[in-house]
């Protein structure tokens, strides 16, 4: 799995770099993207109301969900009203976040994932390890065998990837043509016009958004964009950052319902589920700007080594490290803010300039302030070292003790260093001791200014 993830991130990273290098105004696009998101968040109540009005005007129905349970209940009720036993799904991180599939299953409705990777994970009873390529932890051999045990029972699919993908196509085509209810997420929702947008590659999105009679879109409230023209920025930032393409194969943009074309019943469910908690933190709220491109995952030396499952969340990698603790509450993910060497590679590639390192530091401070004990060994050691650094005399004393392998600095550093390879050698003479030992300079010494 580590090899698959590592190779994946290397490849996507190179592609992204090439496609970004082509764009002469990339930095200006990032600045605009960051500002549009900040503007959307700062005026969120107004934007959500505009969006609701526009969608309703166009024949759609808008629902509001405070939390996962409420959202699942809304979706379940609509499915129930239509007597649906199955719903087809376009990949949606928001629906993973709320556990929609399990909630629907509890009322006897089967949610069928139609993205190839989601299908793979669903058949393998697995969870996603990457935002964009969720089954990247599995190689073709594993997928072939999985399919031969499930959707392509009794067949020998061979080792060609096209044949493996073909098995998925055949299996799902039947569903697309017959299942009357679909759910999706949304990449964007334009408040000005009520347009909802889904960006995808395989065509299963278009299938789910077009063929069924009823479409239910679950969308985090942070996805709203104020103006139609804002799309011109994100339709450039997202494909290049996500898959390193100039444009992804399919983008669908629709408004409400359209007679004679597509679903005749459209429901938009606006989801909070902790987003307002993130919004309440002035520094942390930039995490809501995320457009789910996964560029940060692909540039992160930590993520590429530990993979997505280690983050125990729908949102892995750098963005996950700042979003998950804020969405779920810091006490539920207290170590995530430390899962970073603060190298800053993520910030460099983020298309909307989320300053992930700064937010990590901010969350570390919040965890220490709000959840850590002041009497813990670490807190006491940091306090002691802090006092040492607060005074020249104590500091110089601590330096001498460190040379002897003792004292507050050593006590603070010991747990970590001994876990690795022992304390570093402390030289015989500190810099300041050398400085003091220098012969006094001749009067007027040093070249004239």
């Amino acid at each position: 799995m580590r090899r698959n993830v590592g190779k994946a991130t290397d490849t996507i990273r190179a592609r992204r770099a090439a496609r970004v290098a082509e764009v002469p105004d990339w930095e200006a696009l990032r600045d605009a993207g960051a500002a549009i998101k900040a503007r959307a968040m700062a005026s969120l109540p107004e934007q959500l109301e505009r969006l609701e009005a526009a969608v309703t005007r166009a024949g759609g129905q808008v629902h509001w969900a405070r939390d996962a349970d409420e959202c699942n209940a809304i979706v379940g009720a609509i499915a129930g009203e239509h007597g649906a036993r199955e719903v087809i799904k376009v990949k949606s991180l928001a629906t993973d976040e709320i556990g929609l599939n399990d909630a629907l299953a509890a009322q006897g409705v089967e949610a069928i994932e139609t993205d190839l990777a989601e299908l793979i994970n669903q058949l393998g009873h697995d969870t996603s390890s990457h935002i964009l390529v969720p089954a990247i932890h599995r190689n073709r051999a594993e997928i072939k065998l999985l399919f031969e045990h499930t959707i392509a029972r009794g067949q020998d699919l061979g080792w060609e990837i096209t044949a493996i993908a073909e098995a998925a196509r055949r299996h799902l085509r039947e569903k697309f043509l017959s299942v009357p209810v679909a759910t999706s997420g949304a990449n964007f929702a334009v408040a000005e016009t009520g347009t909802i947008g889904v960006v995808e590659s395989e065509g299963n999105g278009r299938m789910c958004l077009t063929l069924p009679r009823v479409l239910i879109t679950v969308m985090g409230i942070e996805k709203v964009l104020p103006e139609w023209r804002d799309l011109e920025v994100f339709l450039q930032l997202l494909p290049r950052s996500a898959t390193g393409e100039r444009m992804n194969p399919y983008t669908s943009l629709w408004t409400g319902v359209r007679a004679g074309d597509g679903p005749q019943e459209f429901h938009l469910v606006l989801l909070d589920n902790g987003r307002t908690d993130v919004l309440a933190d002035e520094v942390g709220r930039q995490a809501l700007h995320c457009i789910r491109c996964s560029a940060c995952l692909n540039s992160c030396p930590v993520y590429s080594r530990v993979g997505g499952h280690a983050y125990e969340s729908v949102y892995p990698g750098p963005i996950g490290a700042i979003l998950t603790p804020q969405l779920r509450g810091l006490e539920h993910a207290p170590t995530l803010p430390w899962a970073s060497s603060l190298c800053g590679a993520c910030y460099e590639v983020c298309p909307v300039k989320i300053d992930i390192p700064s937010v990590l530091l901010h969350l570390r401070a919040r965890v220490v302030r709000e959840y850590k004990s002041r009497r813990s060994p670490e807190a006491l050691a940091m306090e002691a070292v802090g006092r040492v650094f607060g005074s020249q005399r104590r500091y110089e004393q601590a330096q001498k003790l460190a040379r002897l392998g003792r004292g507050p600095i050593v006590t603070a550093a010991l747990p970590g260093w001994s876990a690795m390879r022992g304390l570093p050698e402390v030289p015989e003479q500190t810099f300041r001791e050398w400085w003091r030992s220098r012969p006094p300079r001749a009067a007027g010494g040093g070249a004239a200014q």
């Binding site: 080594r305 530990v306 802090g386 570093p424 003479q429």
Partner: protein, 225 residues
């Protein structure tokens, strides 16, 4: 020119030779070096570990200690970046060593001689946080006899990250081992950087492997004659 030296707690205690090299180099270039002895630590470690109040208090203390200095030079890009980030950049009077040499003194040839094969590890904090650019490379290129070789995947983090190396030791070591492989593949005799924190991490592993490659701060190469 009179400059005050901010040596940093790390270098003061663990890498005094870097401090000695900075003094030698600056004096050779005609500067008069002061060392305000009340200086201790900038507070980065505390802030990075989540103890922000103490970290900021130390940044404020730094400002007081250097209040009267015209120019402050430090051989630690990460400390300089941290202080600037937290409003303690002394209104531009605080500079990192390579910034001082290239921007303030306007020199790239500092009169150094170091006939060895050297590779530069561009530390994450110097490049991404402080914007050091190619100043270290420009200075190193002018060193007589030097053979500067490329480091593969140079911009990838070495895995130190301060408390990260402690709290996430496995991942940190995995990152370190990739960096080490790249250093060894470069064929260099010396691995250099603008931050000793990374060199502590890399150097430790090089010694452990008895690789015969040593680490030296950029200042030490620039001071060599």
């Amino acid at each position: 020119m009179r400059v005050a030296l901010f040596i940093t707690c790390f270098n003061d205690t663990l890498f005094p030779q870097t401090g000695r090299a900075v003094v030698t180099l600056l004096e050779r270039l005609g500067c008069e070096v002061d060392f305000p002895e009340a200086q201790t630590c900038c507070g980065q470690m505390h802030t990075n570990t989540g103890y922000r109040e103490r970290g900021l208090a130390l940044a404020r203390r730094f400002e007081q200690v250097f209040a009267d200095a015209e120019v402050v030079v430090s051989p630690s890009a990460s400390c300089v970046a941290y202080l600037r980030e937290n409003g303690a950049g002394l209104d531009g009077r605080l500079t990192e060593l390579t910034e001082f040499l290239v921007d303030r003194l306007g020199v790239e040839d500092v009169g150094a001689t170091f006939p060895h094969k050297v590779t530069l590890h561009p530390t994450c904090h110097s490049v991404r946080l402080m914007g050091i650019g190619d100043r270290p490379q420009r200075l190193l290129k002018q060193v007589r006899g030097i053979d500067l070789v490329e480091l593969n995947d140079a911009a990838v983090c070495c895995g130190f990250g301060g408390t990260f190396a402690v709290k996430n030791a496995d991942t940190s070591m995995a990152m370190l081992s990739d960096k080490l492989r790249d250093v060894l593949n470069s064929g260099a005799e010396v691995c250099t950087a603008a931050d000793n924190s990374c060199l502590l991490h890399i150097g430790g592993a090089l010694r452990h492997q008895r690789a015969g490659v040593r680490v030296m701060h950029v200042a030490e190469i620039l001071a060599a004659t």
